[in-house]
């Protein structure tokens, strides 16, 4: 959560500097930043690949548990796909891309801005941030209404880090491994699915 605030602080500072036109020339995400985006996905990959906990979680699970992140991915995309037909300015493909952030708002907003422009990037940032905050706030309610997988589903990619503590608190310690595993698989899916959705 502390990290989220710092990330948002930088975003807010950017808006302020841009609004006040403090910089003579405004860099955009479209050209030079592309290489920074490549660097970011490389680094995110190193972080996931180098995380000993990740590999332990992947090894410790049986095949059935793969159904959990898989269902969360399919359910998310089905949900945003259906609702996209009700939205005034965001179409099916763009809705799927935003949904494919699965709560990972920093990475998804950057990737989507790069591919589709800042407007959809901002939608991705807000939508995925809302998903994270909703998980932090609703985890206990979700457990009592829908059972212990529900906060893990709600958390999406964030179930491996930022929302893991509230998930453990509301669903119990025995769900820590499932949450970690699900979050890792979904985090790996984020850059892959966003790229496929926006280029296919």
């Amino acid at each position: 959560m502390k990290n989220s605030l710092i990330v948002l602080g930088w975003f807010g500072a950017g808006i302020l500097v841009g609004r006040l036109s403090l910089l003579p020339e405004i860099p955009t995400l479209s050209n030079a930043a592309l290489y920074v985006v490549y660097l970011l996905v490389l680094l995110v990959g190193v972080g996931i690949g180098g995380d000993a906990k990740s590999w332990q979680a992947l090894k410790a699970t049986n095949i059935k548990i793969v159904l959990i992140p898989l269902s969360i991915i399919v359910g998310t995309l089905a949900g945003v796909g259906l609702v996209s037909f009700l939205l005034p300015t965001i179409g099916l493909r763009d809705s799927l891309a935003v949904g494919a952030g699965f709560g990972y708002y920093s990475l998804s907003s950057v990737l989507i801005s790069q591919a589709r422009g800042e407007t959809l990037g901002v939608v991705a940032l807000l939508s995925n941030l809302i998903r994270e905050i909703a998980t932090l706030l609703l985890a206990p309610l979700l457990v009592s209404l829908f059972g212990k997988l529900a906060p893990i589903a709600c958390g999406g990619a964030t179930a491996m880090d930022s929302t893991l503590p509230v998930i453990i608190k509301s669903a119990g310690k025995e769900y820590a491994m499932v949450s970690l595993f699900s979050g890792i698989v979904i985090s790996i899916a984020v850059p892959i699915l966003i790229t496929l959705i926006l280029t296919a």
């Binding site: 841009g18 970011l40 680094l43 945003v80 939205l87 940032l125 939508s127 589903a153 999406g156 496929l196």
Partner: protein, 93 residues
């Protein structure tokens, strides 16, 4: 854009190869954070100078919230199906 997937895959393999070099992984993690700060600052900049976005922020925020709600409902419902599927064999034992 497809290069994104390639860089990501190379990163995962690299990280896996270096997983016992905790200093390098820690360095990569803090570099990740600073790259995110930089890119979100730049995203903020382009939002700040783009009057279109700020003018429509209400509509964009509303649509973002609808998408988040749909994502949550869809994923929670789908996880219910899996829960039922996973629980059944246990019940039969």
């Amino acid at each position: 854009m497809v290069a994104v997937i390639l860089f990501f895959a190379v990163g995962i393999l690299l990280g896996h190869a270096l997983r016992h070099r905790s200093k390098i992984i820690a360095l990569a993690d803090s570099l990740t954070m600073w790259t995110i700060y930089l890119l979100l600052f730049v995203l903020g900049l382009s939002v700040g100078v783009n009057r279109q976005i700020l003018q429509h922020i209400g509509s964009l925020g509303f649509q973002a919230a609808v998408l988040a709600a749909a994502a949550i409902v869809g994923s929670v419902l789908a996880s219910q199906l899996v829960r039922l599927a996973l629980e059944r064999p246990v019940d039969e034992e």
